[in-house]
Amino acid sequence: MSRDSRDAALETSRRRLLAVATGGAAAGLLGMSVRGAETDPTRVQGRLPSALGQRSGFEMVERTPAFGVVSLTPLESLYGTITPADLHFERHHAGIPEIDPQSHELLLHGLVERPLSWSVAALKRYPSVTRTCFIECSGNYFPTAGELSPPHLVCGLTSQSEWTGVPLATLLREAGVRSGGSWVLAEGSDAAVMSRSIPLEKCLDDALVVYAQNGEAIRPAQGYPIRLLLPGWEGNTNVKWLRRLEVTDGPSMARDETSKYTEPMRDGYIRQFSFEIEARSIITHPACPAVIEPGWQEIRGLAWSGRGRISRVEVSSDGGKRWQDARLQGPVLPKAHTRFGLPWKWDGQATELLSRATDETGYVQPTLKTILKERGPGSGPYHFNPIVGWRVLRDGELRFNPTG
């Protein structure tokens, strides 16, 4: 084929594509159902490549804003372990600030040899670390719709991402921690100028200052342009919109580590600095509001622990009389959502599904009864991680059941 005839052929096919595209647009303008008119996708050219992808029009997946201050991840609609960034739960104390990364700075000062300030671009020049872990709000048990609560209402304030950033230990080494430095105050640039005190040990262990989430810049609701990431620690300590780190000789006793995010205990003390997220699990399918049919299906769900890897998830399909080990989908990462599954043949009878997680430290997810007995009914809402499940009705409907 000569160059001219090849060009002519290309031009013809380009015109055909344009004609299809305009035809589709015209049909849309005339109010015709494009989907109905083109039921056979093998008989019509598909949509052209675009600058930004979008979900299928057949899929409707959204977060649920609730209580005016949070937005819940739709756990029951997701697969695998990564939460799409636009479905990551939201919890902020004074809204989402709009921050220009060109002018944002991170200050590190206090008990250091060299107080330093970094631009976001400078932080990106350091050797980077990428790791996958969950972030869970420490107050994450609000089944406010009672037995009609779906998984997102039970514990939708947990999400998982692949985060990328610079180890905080690298930045602390640059500044040189002076003797006597034992805590680091982390402070955000939101309208609450939210702050938390973090033990230096954690900062030198696995803390990161992250700028990317699932391969792109962090979403504004997640701390754009930079946030603190403390793998396995309660969400509130993962300070978003990070602007300042101060090495100190003790905790500052900020509002969110005294009057909030603490637990009154039955034996007369208030538990403070309960940073680690305890092991937890939830069956995400079958779960309210799904309706199931008799026969084989997979009971599946998520388990996680802020203290390390999930070592075991047991599932009961008879209300806790017998427990079976579920299969854990590898690789099982430390401080990460872990997907579990167990094939199950429903016989059409009423029953009850439950899941119970154990982590590599040997900690076993407690029952609600144990939590209430040990801590007291008024000790919530933080670090509330009871075994929960679903009652299966004879018609296949599911009802939330926290009394396992």
Binding site: H109, D267, P377, G378
Partner: protein, 200 residues
């Protein structure tokens, strides 16, 4: 049976052999060393922070009072500011507001807090340090205009909220010297999880 070392052998073993080994190990270290600059002592990517820039945003207050600014105020002065800027969220006299009660609960034992879900956690029965109140007000309040109160106004509102909880006199002047000295009833009840008995 051992034979005495010759003078030459002695010199070799005590002086020349260590020197030789040293030279060999130096060569080995050079051979196996990482290429220069991959892990430097410092990257030099941060800029030295200017003390004035630090002072502008270094707003935290420590429980012993470090970080408290100059200024003073009384509960009586604070009441006027509170009613204008705070009462619509926190209620008159810190009670029954839609966004968090600040006062009005007697200083119950924490055992009752854990047992009774209806008991509110207020400044008087739950906050362990008075300095936290100033720190938080300066950061985040009033909710609809954060950062708008002067230091004198912040001390006055702090004094008023403490007064509503029966912790300071209406006419007592609060400032950097006096705020950290206020005895908060809940303080002795706080215990770090790392020192506490393991509980679910």
């Amino acid at each position: 049976m051992t034979t005495p070392l010759s003078r030459l052998q002695y010199v070799f073993l005590t002086a020349l052999l260590p020197a030789l080994l040293c030279a060999i190990s130096l060569t080995a270290a050079e051979l196996f060393a990482a290429p220069q600059d991959t892990v430097p002592e410092g990257y030099g990517l941060g800029r030295p922070a200017d003390p004035e820039a630090i002072a502008r945003i270094d707003i935290d207050v420590m429980p012993d009072g470090r970080g408290l600014p100059e200024g003073k105020g009384t509960a009586r002065e604070g009441q006027i500011i509170y009613e204008a800027a705070c009462a619509h969220c926190h209620g008159s006299e810190g009670r029954d507001g839609p966004n968090g009660s600040l006062a009005g609960v007697p200083q119950y034992a924490v055992t009752e807090l854990a047992d009774d879900r209806s008991l509110k956690r207020t400044v008087g029965n739950y906050w362990p340090y008075a300095t936290t109140l100033f720190d938080y007000l300066r950061r985040a309040m009033p909710f609809d205009k954060p950062g708008s109160l002067s230091n004198d106004e912040l001390y006055a509102v702090t004094a008023y909220v403490l007064h509503l909880n029966g912790l300071v006199d209406e006419l007592a002047t609060l400032g950097a010297g006096t705020l950290p000295l206020i005895d908060m009833p809940a303080r002795e009840r706080f215990q770090p999880a790392s020192e506490a008995r393991e509980q679910p």
